[in-house]
Assembly symmetry: C2
Homo-oligomer: 410 residues x 2
């Protein structure tokens, strides 16, 4: 596998476009098309929120019947088309129909994504305009397409990677994503469209996506809220002709998809609303992975922990207190909490253990504060109860989060 | 029952004191004593956090063996004596012993409360100093005692009420409490000491406290975090001689306790860290009360909902989205969301229904914004699935919450 790239040059057999249809008043892209020349197998993960936006409802139907031959994804920002009743469903269907008409395929071969404000009817004429404007300019401009799905994101999020198998066959995995509020794990999180030119049946594609999604998009927390629109899509058009026949080849594809999803997921956290710090939480030594996830989630969503990170205060008591209220077994007497600056897989000699055996160690407060002042911080919490573990990426909670969300609609 | 009072004049057979022992550097009270002349029956609710502070561990032991004859409560602020290992337990025990020595009772007849920063050893000499200073000044100065347990609270919280039974017997219920961060329902929340001069066995007292606590202290949310120290204590010394013998008399006591707890719980929310608005959330029409509580809690802890309240933005989509991710059945198509300014039990003609049957109504945005600009707002969310209901009191999420918690330790 080559190094992961923060851009997408071209993916065989896929064309994209981004354009403005008047949803964003500043004229920047608010609409995107992702089109495959031929039929794709597709995998998807959707929000588990009981309140599902119209495009999610429609996509679930389309995936049910047509996941072996998806052709396109159409997306808009600034309007979530959520809580818009039957009219909203109709708008999503008409949008798919407009794309299908332009591509001469069935509407069920088109998936629809929306993101933005909830409860405002999406003007279908704008979506039709987007199709009209977008189809003629379909090409390799992934950067503009990625902008088309941005809402409060400050930067666009793209990732791509190429893999050459031992037999010489080459394939690509590439994707775009958007954050950056209403982000929490244990669900399909935010919007992401990923594409690959590999040959893979829809069921296998879905299995790989489920595995990778759990470790990446489902392992990020910005604010603990879950959107009505969260969707991760993965299309495989087989254009490379590259078949994945051995377990090893499939593992290489999974690795490539993991690299892309991890990059996009971490980008979402880095660009979290108001975020000033990137935090990697490693919870280990729990009875089960599930328990470790609960503890990591409790810590990552704690407003007290997040504001302490913002204040560069090594207030480890809040981390331990959050772990204790996660609703799963946790023993402070067996626990050990270690922090270090940077993004690390394992602690190095400069790591500082601040809590062990039920009480603070004789750590230097100056060392701990120096770590907390760094832009990236890694935390290890060892529970001493088993081998279950989880990794979660999160950010701090700043004045800007309050500012951004105190006047998002207005 | 007379009207609830925001102060405590005197409660027969109880004496209190507040003093400074050097934990608060500005000389304001940081230590409090609550002493009964005779033995009390006692009831208690403790944090369900797996990480329990030393005083909670010690109190649970004392309640196990001595809940029929508790004599005193000793409390300090600025230091939670949590995550302090065996030494912390020893400090809590020595504190109880110091009070017992002064009152000539057993240490197990003393309950200990601490609140403040986690993980710093509490200096037992300061606690002994508090006993030394406090015992000679025991009296009716509840206002100073209430100050002794304040941390980031801006105002002290006191409530009292008198009840005269049809047979002419009179009793009192009074209490103090402190908030104002790490507050969430579904647990024993924050610190509160309540006293009554009624005659009631410990088991009956505990039953009444459990019922009332669930509807009051367990129904408030400031930030969704759960403390290691949350404790609610209720002591009954029987000094009034007032026996509660009929179901109706017991109900009058429960009503009085509810009035005191409700007042203190609401005071905690009003004084929530950085709070600018008081929000009453009524969730109705769920399959069970439990489900309604889950939905109310999801809304009350949502950072997106809370920042929208701060911004006076009637962003109802965030409320519906939070309800949808509560993990219990919720149907947007059957739901109805109504808002109104003020603290109300039922909507009046000036209430505005903004969402019904899966989509926004034709409400006036100006009306909704006018409601959101009020200091108190009541929300009704009708689920259309059953008769389960819950009421939760919460506050908004402001710049000041971030400021207060970004530099709490320093």
């Amino acid at each position: 596998m080559q190094a992961i790239q923060p851009h997408i040059d071209a993916v065989m057999g896929f064309q994209v476009a981004g354009t403005n249809v008047g949803l964003k008043r500043d004229g920047t892209p608010d609409f995107a098309l992702f089109v495959s020349e031929g039929d794709c197998t597709a995998a998807a993960v959707f929000t588990t929120n009981h309140v599902k936006a119209a495009p999610v409802v429609v996509d679930m139907e389309h995936m049910e019947t047509h996941r072996q031959r998806i052709r396109a994804v159409v997306a808009n920002s600034k309007n979530a088309n959520a809580c818009t009743g039957e009219e909203g469903i109709s708008v999503a269907r008409q949008t798919a129909q407009a794309v299908a008409d332009a591509l001469a395929c069935e509407p069920q071969q088109v998936l629809v994504l929306s993101t933005g404000v909830i409860g405002v009817l999406l003007d279908v004429e704008r979506m039709k305009l987007g199709v009209q404007q977008g189809v003629p300019i379909l090409g390799d401009d992934w950067a503009t397409a990625a902008q088309g799905i941005m809402t409060t994101d400050l930067v666009s999020k793209l990732a791509s990677v190429s893999v050459t198998l031992p037999n010489g066959a080459t394939f690509q995995v590439a994707g775009v994503a958007k954050g950056s509020g209403m982000i929490a794990p244990n669900m399909a999180t935010m919007l992401s469209v990923m594409v690959t030119d590999v040959v893979l049946p829809a069921d296998a594609l879905q299995m790989v996506l489920n595995t990778v999604n759990q470790k990446t998009f489902n392992s990020i927390v910005v604010d603990g809220d879950m959107s009505t629109n969260d969707t991760v899509l993965l299309l495989a058009n087989g254009a490379s002709g590259c078949q994945l026949q051995t377990a090893d080849e499939l593992a290489q594809f999974e690795q490539a998809l993991y690299a892309v999803c991890r990059k996009l997921a971490q980008d979402i956290v880095r660009d979290g609303e108001g975020a000033t710090k990137f935090i990697t939480l490693n919870v280990k030594g729990c009875e089960t992975d599930e328990n470790a996830r609960h503890i990591a989630h409790a810590i990552a969503t704690s407003a007290l922990v997040k504001t302490a990170f913002f204040g560069a205060d090594a207030n480890w008591g809040r981390i331990i207190a959050a772990a204790g209220r996660a609703g799963v077994p946790f023993s402070p007497d067996r626990s050990r909490l270690t922090i270090e600056g940077g993004e690390l897989e394992h602690p190095t000699p400069s790591a500082v253990t601040i809590f062990a055996q039920g009480k603070p160690t004789a750590y230097s407060e100056a060392d701990a504060t120096a770590i907390m002042q760094q832009p990236s911080i890694t935390i290890w919490l060892e529970g001493g109860l088993g081998t279950g573990q989880a990794q979660v990426w999160t950010c701090d909670f700043s004045y800007d989060y309050v500012r951004i969300n105190g006047d998002y609609r207005t």
